[in-house]
């Protein structure tokens, strides 16, 4: 916040031609409860990792929907799997599984990209 960067936010345009939906589709297939997320942020408020760093579970959900695989692959590493988010979720979403699926799919994508 010190550099006033919030005054000139980066572009949030999404180019749907380049939209990479592989990650989102994978999560939806195996954890359909993710679709019921209302982005309330309860998960973020209770998060143990979020207490130590700027990790934000709600943002993970948003990025997942936007297909920001690159950003996710960095951010998702911060989760400690403690399961508090899953316990507090008012929509009963199995968030731990969502995180596991994202990690799994990203590592699959990495090997896929290497082969290509």
């Amino acid at each position: 916040m010190n550099d006033f960067s919030y005054l000139k936010p980066a572009s949030r345009q999404i180019n749907f031609d380049n939209f990479d939906e592989r990650l989102l589709m994978y999560v939806q297939q195996y954890e359909p409860s993710f679709l019921t997320c209302i982005s309330c942020g309860g998960c973020t408020a209770t998060c143990s990792a979020g207490n130590l760093t700027n990790f934000n579970v709600r943002k993970i959900g948003l990025w997942l929907r936007r297909g920001e695989t690159e950003k996710l692959s960095e951010e998702i590493q911060k989760c400690m799997f403690c399961g508090k988010c899953t316990l507090v979720c008012p929509r009963d979403i199995n968030i731990r599984n969502v995180i596991l699926l994202i990690k799994k799919r990203i590592s699959m994508l990495k090997t896929e990209n290497e082969i290509q």
Binding site: C79, M80, F81, G83, R96, N97, K103
Partner: protein
């Protein structure tokens, strides 16, 4: 010459079986680490060898553990295994006596009544009686096995495993072996009169229809059944028979799985007889989850088609391990598979900082779950205050997770980063004791942290110590308490008595049917990453409904996770041990501030 051809199917099957067995056993033993191989060789020279032999006899032949669980099922297994073993041994002795030689051809005892038509050798009457008796013993087991396949409820089993083609071939031929032996021996008894009470009486049923050709074909069929069974054995669940013997020796040598797959995995996987006892213990069936139980996981590892959906759909409660007659470490095995499956994506947690620790005599680590149940933290603070300890509440503001949830998800490497960070802090505090109020944390602190001389104490233990030292005085109430054993504390850490001892001081503790080793999982388990909230609710309600039949005033538990799960059920009052203790301490007699209210005037029109 044609007479001798009946040996052929039996011999071909046996040789094939032996080649496969020797190949597999050598491969498995070679696959063990160097240290484990040394351990195995060393154990053969010590008393452990005798212990293992005894276990082979008790478990492999007598099936002692199944007997304890279910006598009928135990008898079925014993009559088949021990009966067959005795049949082979007694058969050999009989042939040795008849031939007056120590070395007899291997096939002869199997087909003795076919080749030896006379009955004029030493003790022949006794031997034929003994052999008939043993055959009857085995046949009783076979008929029970057939009955069990179609009416499993008679054996107290709710579920039994699904069979594959290989299993079916082996099962059918195994079932046929002994009835065919009876038929063949009876036919021989009919012709040569060399039978005893069983074979003679069955033989007499054949009447005059007995002939050499029928006799030959019956013996041939018997030999074929044996041959088929031997050939089908390596690719069926009956591979557990030879593998279990190896497993017992390997286990007794002190060999364990070390977070990665090696051939010990294979030995355990092949030792599973798919008896299905773990299915009956698994709670997930009540929620309609029927494909991820230990027996199926073992099968899938063997067939190399294990999916993540099955692997991670397990509460890791450990109930399946309790009754496994082979003693397979199902939980270790499953976690190892999870480690293998998540190897590609362990986190590094570079953001972890070394936050300076505070000097204290005692460290308290509440853990993530306790932070969701503030009542426990409040009670713990109160208890520390009563004890007058110099405590550093390590994760009051912020701290990494203990690492256990990561381990349950298979990410050991990631967990080790959290462990290193926490260890530094705890050791840095210079404390002598670490108190934890969450069994999930307790397990990992006890087992995976290297804390030098710092003693890890679970809060129930700590409270019990305080009560014994009379630091805490308790008022015993008449409230009925049912104690719920948390999985990680009970089956996980074998701590059953300490929490109960504390609760006995505070109220009247009721003992219930499903407790200690057979205690329910609350359904909240962090071990399961796939189960949905609805399914968790079914598991929780199932447990609570059982507890409610004892009409307790309080459901006590020692785990914040269990408390959190149970409190969502509105029908029962759930408290953690620490909360109950604080509630039962005598309240300090502070003069109550009595609010003096001005008496309200009653107006007449209010009544109108």
């Amino acid at each position: 010459m044609i007479e001798k051809s009946i040996i052929l199917p039996f011999f071909v099957g046996l040789i094939y079986l032996f080649i496969i067995l020797i190949y597999r056993f050598i491969k498995w033993i070679r696959g063990l680490s160097k240290l484990d191989k040394l351990r195995l060789i060393q154990s053969l020279k010590t008393r452990r060898f005798l212990v293992a032999l005894k276990e082979v006899f008790y478990e492999g032949l007598l099936h002692h553990k199944i007997f304890l669980k279910n006598p009928v099922l135990g008898y079925m297994h014993m009559s088949l295994a021990f009966g067959w073993f005795l049949l082979i041994t007694a058969g050999h002795i009989e042939v040795m006596v008849a031939q007056k030689s120590m070395f007899v051809p291997m096939y002869l005892p199997i087909f003795f009544r076919y080749f030896e038509t006379g009955k004029d050798f030493f003790f022949s009457g006794f031997f034929s009686f003994l052999m008939d008796f043993l055959l009857l013993f085995v046949l009783s087991g076979v008929s029970l096995a057939m009955l069990k396949r179609f009416k499993k409820r008679l054996f107290g089993m709710k579920k039994t495993t699904r069979l594959k083609t290989g299993d079916r071939i082996a099962l059918t031929s195994l079932w046929l072996i002994f009835p065919l032996r009876l038929a063949a021996e009876s036919m021989s008894a009919n012709i040569y009169e060399n039978g005893s009470f069983l074979t003679s009486s069955v033989g007499s049923l054949f009447g005059n229809s007995g002939s050499e050709t029928v006799n030959f074909s019956l013996w041939m069929a018997y030999s074929l059944a044996l041959g088929f069974f031997f050939v089908a054995l390596p690719n069926s669940r009956y591979m557990h028979i030879p593998t279990e013997v190896l497993l017992i020796f390997v286990r007794n040598a002190g060999i364990k799985l070390k977070k990665r797959n090696n051939t010990y995995t294979d030995i355990q996987v092949f030792s599973c007889s798919r008896c299905g006892l773990c299915l009956d213990n698994c709670q997930m069936t009540t929620a309609g989850i029927n494909n991820s139980q230990s027996v199926y996981i073992l099968k899938n590892i063997r067939n190399q088609n294990l999916s993540d959906e099955q692997l991670f759909n397990c509460l890791l409660c450990g109930k399946c391990e309790v009754d496994c007659p082979v003693g397979i470490n199902t939980i270790d095995l499953r976690i190892t598979q999870r480690i293998e499956s998540t190897l590609q994506y362990n986190s590094a947690y570079n953001y972890l900082e070394d936050i300076p620790s505070q000097k204290a005599d005692m460290v308290y680590f509440a853990g993530c779950m306790t932070h969701l149940t503030p009542g426990i933290i409040k009670s713990m603070k109160k208890i520390f205050q009563m004890a007058g300890e110099n405590v550093w509440f390590m994760d009051e503001e912020k701290a990494p997770c203990c690492g256990r949830p990561l381990m349950q998800a298979g990410q050991y490497e990631a967990a080790s980063k959290l462990i290193a960070n926490n260890t530094k802090k705890i050791v840095g505090s210079g404390a002598k004791k670490l108190i934890v109020s969450c069994p999930i944390c307790y397990k990992v602190f006890k087992e995976d942290y290297e804390l030098a001389n710092i003693e890890v104490i679970f809060h129930a233990e700590y409270i019990l110590q305080l009560i014994q030292k009379k630091v805490i005085q308790l008022n015993q109430s008449t409230q009925k308490i049912v104690y719920h054993d948390p999985c990680e504390l009970g089956r996980g850490m074998k701590m059953y008595e300490e929490p109960r001892a504390v609760l006995r001081k505070t109220g009247s503790l009721i003992s219930i049917k499903n407790e200690k080793q057979m205690a329910y999982c609350c359904g909240g388990s962090l071990g399961n990453l796939k189960i949905s909230q609805e399914e968790r609710t079914i598991l929780r309600n199932h447990a609570v409904e059982d507890y409610l039949t004892y009409q307790p005033d309080i459901l006590a538990t020692a785990c914040p996770m269990c408390k959190k799960t149970f409190t969502r059920h509105r029908g029962i009052k759930v408290l953690d041990i620490s909360e109950i203790v604080v509630e039962s301490t005598p309240k300090p007699t502070i003069t109550k501030r009595v609010k003096v209210k001005a008496k309200r005037k009653v107006y007449v029109d209010e009544f109108a």
